[in-house]
């Protein structure tokens, strides 16, 4: 077995351990809180007998370890329990809302890299000039502003005042959504060869994705700048200069790749911020994603749905981090990553 494969398996096992931990943590929090979930679900007008029946049906009358065991057994079969809010299996709800959120997060992640990396490289290249100063002030402002503020400001400027982009939603209401294949409107409209829907979806996606990406763009460019400057101090760059290699060749062939390693590592952690901030951005732009569902079930104290949603989000985060680690290993052949990060 190659070391890379072994490390990958090691990471997968560690992730499963962490996921089990997350489920225990969420389960513990959900069950020790004051208040009776069955009573909350049925409302104040339900009779005591109805509440008791629901408690029994949901095993809420059993000891917590037994409840957890039953939950895990269902989980192993891919069943996340039933939502008291939507009256459907949580799995079905998640499958419906997750693609919209992933679409938003992928788009934001791409913007982060496509804008943040070049901005950081240029900032390092023209270090100390006015462009660099503007870039640095801009990125620290981007990092210091919560995603919902970006959402509200972008919406105010580009949607309300200048009417360049739609105010909210994922598609124009008059437009029939493409037949659902993947749940990603962009991909589905390509599959359905429906150019109008594709561009309409892209038009709707632009502002929310930018709002979600802003903090990440700022952080990426700050990190890239610092990392490039650090790399340029290394002896091998000095040697390349001494050989008289052209500046662009040094930047592209020698400096950029090692500088990318710390940036990628932090980007992996940033995915957590994207997943969390998606809640805010979806709320501003009326985006029909998992976060919208998450806020609803939180406000309705829908325990299984909350635990299920958090588990899915944690799993998405862990998978994303494994992917990032693989990318780091590709960029930096010296790291055939050592099993786990300390």
């Amino acid at each position: 077995m190659s070391p890379l494969l072994r490390a990958l398996i090691h990471r997968l096992v560690a992730s499963v351990v962490v996921l089990i931990g997350v489920s225990m943590l969420m389960f513990a929090i959900a069950r020790v809180i004051p208040g009776d979930p069955a009573r909350i679900a049925l409302g104040p007008n339900a009779t005591e007998a109805q509440v008791q029946a629901l408690r029994h049906e949901r095993r809420l009358d059993q000891p917590i370890p037994l409840q957890y065991w039953a939950y895990v057994r269902e989980l192993a079969r891919g069943n996340l329990g039933n939502s008291l809010y939507s009256n459907r299996p949580v799995r079905v709800d998640v499958a419906q809302y997750l693609p919209a959120t992933l679409e938003l997060i992928f788009a934001a992640g791409m913007l982060m890299v496509l804008i943040g990396l070049p901005a950081g490289v240029l900032s390092a290249r023209y270090r100390g000039r006015w462009g660099d100063h503007i870039g640095r002030v801009g990125s620290i402002m981007a990092v210091s502003t919560p995603a919902f503020v970006w959402g509200v400001i972008l919406q105010l400027m580009f949607a309300y005042l200048w009417r360049l982009f739609p105010i909210e939603g994922r598609l124009t209401a008059a437009l029939a959504p493409p037949p659902t294949v993947t749940g990603f409107v962009l991909i589905d409209s390509i599959l359905g060869r429906d150019g109008r829907t594709f561009f309409d979806a892209l038009h709707h996606l632009a502002l929310p994705a930018l709002a979600l990406a802003m903090a990440g763009i700022g952080q990426t460019s700050r990190l890239t700048r610092a990392s490039m400057i650090e790399t340029y101090r290394k002896p091998f760059i000095e040697m390349a200069h001494a050989y008289g290699f052209p500046e662009w060749k040094i930047a592209r062939r020698y400096a950029f790749r090692p500088a990318l390693v710390p940036v990628l590592t932090i980007l992996g952690l940033d995915i957590a911020a994207l997943l969390g901030n998606a809640f805010l951005v979806e709320s501003v732009f009326g985006w029909p994603g998992l976060s919208h569902y998450g806020v609803e079930v939180i406000l309705h104290k829908d325990l299984d749905a909350i635990v299920g949603t958090v588990l899915i989000i944690a799993a998405a985060f862990l998978i994303a981090n494994i992917v990032v680690d693989l990318l780091v290993a590709v960029v930096n052949p010296r790291i055939r990553f050592a099993g786990e990060r300390s």
Binding site: V22, L25, I140, T145, L156, F279, L280, L299
Partner: protein, 282 residues
Amino acid sequence: MTLVSDSAEWRAFWRNPSALTGLALVALVVLAALFADVVAPYPGHAGPVGDFAAMSAGPSAQYLLGTDTIGRDLLTRLIFAYRLSLEMAIVVLAIAAPIGVAVGLLGGYLGPAWSYALMRLTDVFLAIPPLVLAMSITGFLEPSAIHGMMAITMMWWPWYARLAYNLTRAEKQEGYVLAAETVGASTPHILFREILPNCMPAILTKMTIDVGFVILIASSMSFLGLGAQAPTPDLGSMVADGARYMPDAWWLTVFPALAILIVVMGFNLLGDGLREAADVRG
């Protein structure tokens, strides 16, 4: 790399324009919050009152930043919101940092079994995006400023555990730790009297930056209705309320948003300046 005295580090700090900008912003916010009753033009407007004659008025000489939909002075409410935000951030960090640091010190210094158990526990908390964890905890309870504070504390300690763990692992190899072990110093002595003081600059810098980020997360939660409830003035819920009257009453959204930017950026710049001056890791 001590943080006191008239050292070269301090002189570097005083010559760093962005650090000084941060210090100025932080001083402005902290002083306004401390003396809110004196500074705020209409201290009564922090509570559940209304002045319908002056409702939704734009910025003017009488109301510098305008009034909200029931005629309360926006500037006053922002100053009191700063007070609440700073109180929350200080309480959160005063609880989360010591817990996290203790976990990290133990995990970094004790044997591999302890280290594995404590760091996997930390990973469990870190695997849930901070905002999601805080929101779901608040969701199980009733939304309020206190519950929001509890939730943020629960999600914040692992970052200090991670930091202290990495620092401890590095310090463990240093000669002074070996020396203390050789003369038979107790584990608590080595952890808290030998290693901890050397980690303090990094921890304190992180705490400075985190004041801003705790305020950012708290405002994000209250923006979703999961934080402080009306009539308490709160930065996040003010943006949320204002957003409903866009674009006509733009000041209701724009000024609270700017207020968040100012405080978060202030602590960010100040913390970065301290970090650069003290040249700390982490």
